[in-house]
């Protein structure tokens, strides 16, 4: 076996010149990052203080865009819908994903049982929007099916009436997200030491007690990641809404990301669009930080 490499320094001593050369070699990457990532962000932030329709020069208007934004009833609707999306995405795909993971883990056909849930993940959000938009249109396949089976809701206008249209779209998005959440939870379950579960079982713990006192606390680091990712993903919801309702009818089902797009590109109000973008960025940052801080600073619940 070869001896581990000793920490003998390379033949050339580190000099100021070679450090400068190293910086030069890093420079292209730094410049690319600055031009492609930092500059656009700064430009958008600057634009949010201007009135600009994409022609001529932006006109500085101070905080007017922000004031107008909070004054706009459409923004309030959009913010409300975005909150519904965040709550819905945590409640439905995360909870269902956990349920599927727990029920199928250690099952003989566990992988096969989980596989169908994972298949929609291979589709793009836009594809899902188009397909569900087709199924859920007024008098569409879903209405006809409910009518045929004599179930309630046959006359529901899934894409038209608010807030039903938002709930409908969350259900469509969940159809895709459940599988991958289940997969992540299974990975979490695999990391739980068997000994802890066996010890609890020998102490006479039933399935619910096992879950409540062993599995759930030990899954916590993974739950934090899954919920954190879901919060960020739901705050930026765009594709499925754009393909299913375009935020309509009117602007009833818009999310903040859709409002940002519509103000910028449909209405050519670049300043207002940028203000919403800055608000959405701040909201995402604050939500993610608050959640992660809270989760990671608390001591994990003791395994009893």
């Amino acid at each position: 076996m070869r001896a581990p490499a000793t920490s003998v320094r390379g033949g050339r001593p580190t000099t100021i010149t070679s450090q400068a050369t190293a910086r030069m070699f890093v420079a292209p990457a730094v410049i690319v990052a600055a031009v492609l990532l930092y500059l656009p962000f700064l430009w958008a932030a600057l634009l949010s203080f201007t009135e600009y329709r994409g022609l001529g020069a932006p006109e500085f208007v101070g905080l007017d865009n922000y004031a107008a934004m909070f004054d706009d009833p459409n923004f309030t609707i959009s913010l409300r819908n975005t909150v519904i999306w965040v709550l819905g995405t945590i409640l439905v795909p995360v909870a269902l994903g956990l349920l599927i993971a727990v029920l199928t883990y250690n099952h003989r056909f566990g992988t096969w049982l989980r596989l169908p849930f994972l298949l929609p993940y291979a589709l793009s959000g836009v594809g899902i929007g188009v397909v569900f938009g087709f199924l859920l249109q007024t008098h569409g396949a879903i209405n006809q099916m409910l009518d045929f089976l004599g179930l309630p809701g046959a006359a529901t206008r899934f894409m038209i009436d608010a807030p039903i249209n938002t709930f409908t779209m969350i259900a469509a998005a969940s159809w895709q997200a459940v599988g991958v959440n289940a997969l992540l939870f299974v990975v979490g379950l695999q990391s739980i030491p068997k000994s802890a579960l066996e010890a609890a079982r020998m102490d006479g713990a039933g399935p619910w007690q096992l879950f409540r006192h062993i599995t759930w606390p030990l899954l916590r680091p993974l739950t934090t990641v899954v919920v954190g990712l879901s919060i960020v993903a739901s705050l930026k919801t765009f594709d499925i809404v754009w393909t299913m309702t375009e935020g309509g009818p009117g602007r009833r089902s818009e999310t903040l990301a859709v409002t940002m797009y519509r103000e910028t590109f449909s209405m050519q109000r670049f300043g207002m669009g940028a203000a919403i973008a800055v608000f959405l960025t701040a909201l995402t940052f604050i939500a993610a930080m608050t959640y992660l801080r809270r989760q990671l600073s608390e001591r994990p619940e003791k395994v009893r």
Binding site: T138, G248, Q268
Partner: protein, 411 residues
Amino acid sequence: MKRTRRTIPPLVAAAMLLVACGGGGETDGVVGFYHDKAQWEAEFAAVSAVSQETLGTELNVVGYADDAAYDSFIRSSFLTDQRPDLFTWHTGGPLAELVEEGLVAESGHLWDAAIADGDVPADIRSFFEIDGATYCVPLLSDYWVMYYSVPIFDEYGFEPPQTWDELMRIADTLLADGQIPFSLPGGIFSFVWFQQLMLGMYPDVYEGLADGTANYTDPEVVEVMELWRELAAGGYTIEPGVEIGPAEMMRDGVVAMQPFGTWFHGPLNGLELTSGEDYDVFVMPSINPDLSETSVVVELGPLCQAEAARNADAAQEVLRWWMQPEAQTEFTVARNGMSYNPNAEAADPRLVEVSDQIATGHRIHNRYFEASPPQVSTVAMEQFDAFMADLGDPMDYLEQIQRVHEQHWSE
């Protein structure tokens, strides 16, 4: 030597960026032609082939399917030195916005010649005039008419109606028999019924809304919205949220009548439907019988030349040629539409008849989308969409539109 080595990487990076930013642009004999009518890619290519023969100028045709993306592309291109030589746009507010920034080349002398040659009716020039100067040339012109299903009309023995009462009698008969009479266009077409009903009842108020002398909360507008609500609530129009394409609705007889521009011939023929056999058109009669003329909307898509375009001379030649019978015949026949140029041939003789009919005793208006300032029409179309969804008190929606309307005209 060391100095050289230190400066190389940033230089390489800068060079890469410059290479990435450069490129594109048109070469000699090729005029950039940008449009937002992606469905006519082949039709524009056919015209380009003819322009190459006649003018020795090839059109580099670049089409966009998404309005918002196209709008943003054109606007941002004016920030660069890659201005589009020629580009399609909208008359009215959207054109005024570009003209105000000095981005569009004047075309008055081209119009003078075309009108003198009888290639363009003089009365459509006003739609292209801003503060006394003329800009762009008409890419196409389409009248807004009522399309109807010939098989359905034949089944019931209906003739194209001459009056609103006749039209409603047809609609009542169809409705009683379970056939939905009318379509209900939404989204970017949510203004259609508003436009048609306004013009049928109060064409002067329609013009007043466009130039800021009337208000959306005026009793005439409320009355129009009430009629719209009555039609939709009464089941005369299809329910909102049905995602069947308009041409497919015609083919499958989902609805009997659809108000559209005559460009609708294109998609219908695309489904192998034949004008006069499967579908036909009539001019929608006035609702108010006291109106001396029937109002008809003309949709005029302008083809504009950017001010200080790179190939300005060649681009201007294309504009001049575009209004002439050769280009108009080529484009009109290719897209199965009609032409504003009476010397051009049309694909469908029915459209020639309709345009001759409209030429006398009809009052021409700009389409709502072009007639209104973009800031107002965007909000109006959202509100019309919401109104169609819940058919609530018209005033709730009109007040929202009035707010931006007032704001716009007070500035």
